[in-house]
Symmetry: C2
Subunit: 191 residues, 2 copies
């Protein structure tokens, strides 16, 4: 990384890339999208998934690689859909979560994001962002992606993530928090 | 494998191991349980998951390795829980599937099992077993494991997998079918 603040973000999700890029740019870090093979292992831990993917790709491509893994963890569903959020979203959609939450009083949930930076032979360095909130009774809003229409962050005015502008969401989201930590750390390295 | 019919089955699930061992023994193949690290990747494809795990372990341990990946695929749920069946079972249990299937008329589902045998430098060899059936309205029976209490195989008398004896289940199950194919192939190799 010496001498350049450009890092490769391994993802095929353009919405996720845009979110991350906007946050990193504020710290003067330029993210480049790398849409190549990403080895995602099955694990309860976002950190394990993100680290493995970053290290595997960095070893294979011999460039510094950033990966991110995120998920929606619903308290009363024992953390489901958790690390498998994107697959659950694709197969079942938002309605299934609302169905599982029918008549459930405790609607607490949180979004977690873990960013892993790998530059072998160093071990991957991880940064976590979390946002607490609750599951709405109905989907609302057309912004964001994934489960955003049913997630109401505590630190807000009652709107779902999908009802916010990108800027509003980026101020408080789990992903902006983890990428902000990564970006600050990278800036320090090059200061 | 030359000269010995003993192979290592990488799993930490004792019930799964017993099922597989009983089937393999009928073809004269002795399975040994290997309860060490198994790298399970996220994929829509059981074959991809099983092959990667077998090859990774065979390379690391330098012995021939067998892995199995299985899942319950519910038609009206777009294949959910599929490759993530065991995680979904652990987090949500059987009741969640019944909840998602409330008022759903089409209850078709199938269990799939893919067994991968890896002995580098050869590419992994895969064997698939499938059993078609339907999701019951209520859980029934105490045998088997995982989603067995809500799965009624078409090739049966209306009982769930969990209401059958091990022998009855082994005659028709997806896992017995994939392991029978593996065992026959291994026997041929040594004939």
């Amino acid at each position: 990384m010496k001498g350049h603040k450009q890092v490769y973000f391994l993802t095929s999700n353009k919405a996720k890339f845009r979110e991350a890029m906007a946050v990193a740019a504020m710290s003067g870090v330029r993210l480049r999208m790398l849409a190549t093979r990403k080895v995602e292992i099955q694990s309860d831990s976002l950190q394990t998934i993100a680290s493995y993917a970053a290290e595997e790709a960095a070893n294979r491509l011999t460039v510094p690689v950033v990966t991110e893994d995120a998920g929606l963890f619903v308290d009363e569903l024992n953390g489901f859909p958790g690390p498998y959020s994107s697959d659950v979203f694709k197969r079942l959609g938002i309605r299934a979560i609302l169905k599982l939450m029918e008549n459930v009083v405790n609607r607490k949930a949180s979004f977690h994001s873990v960013v892993a930076f790998s530059q072998p032979p160093s071990r991957p360095k991880c940064f976590r962002g979390t946002v607490a909130g609750r599951i709405s009774l109905d989907p609302r809003g057309a912004g964001g992606f994934g489960f955003d229409p049913i997630f109401i962050p505590d630190e807000g005015d009652g709107r779902t993530f999908a009802e916010m502008t990108d800027e509003e969401k980026n101020r408080i989201s789990h992903r902006s928090s983890s990428f902000r930590k990564l970006s600050r750390w990278l800036s320090t390295l090059h200061a």
